[in-house]
């Protein structure tokens, strides 16, 4: 198992982020690669793993600033495990709340889509307003929530 060292160009190709972005992340202290004798960046398998996790964090809505906090805690060692865990839990909660809200909004949009269907097929009254229609839908769902 040899230690793979990737140049920024190779790493960029691998992870799908531009070299601009990688240097930007570095300036924001999100991922800081080692340097070789010529001061060139090189990324290791650890960096690959960390960046993968970082992208999962981003994908749940964590901001760069929050990720930076996480990185700083991580750098302080195991004594900050609880803090890191708490941070992740907050992020998780926020993401779940966000999903729930989006779903509520999607329900209305879905009803509107149905309403267009029925209008096209003249199933509902020509002048049926969406608001009335929505109310009926809500009534139909009584007790199903």
């Amino acid at each position: 198992m040899k230690e793979e060292k990737l140049t920024i160009g190779q790493f960029s190709d691998l992870v799908g982020l531009s070299t601009y972005t990688l240097r930007y992340y570095e300036s924001e202290e999100l991922i800081i690669p080692k340097r070789d004798d010529n001061n060139r960046r090189f990324y290791t398998q650890d960096d690959v793993k960390w960046l993968g996790f970082l992208l999962h964090l981003k994908g749940t809505g964590m901001t760069m600033s929050e990720i930076k906090t996480y990185v700083q805690l991580r750098a302080q060692g195991d004594s900050t495990n609880r803090k890191r865990q708490k941070l992740l839990e907050e992020v998780k909660k926020r993401a779940l709340d966000q999903i729930a809200e989006t779903k509520r909004n999607l329900e209305v949009i879905s009803h509107k889509i149905d309403w267009y269907d029925k209008k096209e097929n003249a199933v509902i009254n020509e002048d049926e307003s969406f608001e009335n229609y929505l109310e009926k839908m809500k009534d139909n769902n009584k007790g199903e929530a």
Copy 2:
């Protein structure tokens, strides 16, 4: 049933958007109130309904530009119903995809939270890497996806 006319200030309070934002939305043609004899804006119940729907649209990730398109189609009358429906379907699909992706990311974060739990309780090996742990979790879920 008298027709309620709301000033921009009243409407602002009602819907929770600043007057700045309302004028901005108007400049972007998202919601265009009528004017009274003194050229002051007034918002009607229709505007209340439309803004409510608009917020649902925003809440599913629709951009202002897309909402503007929707508004323009709406202004062209029933002949654009199919187009509007299609637009909403695209937005819906995108939102559902987004939710699915966020959930996938959340799974990893949840595992990490569990991993912190176990580390704190010394249930897993002191040096157990998260990556190994994740692999085990994946194995445990074989056939459950």
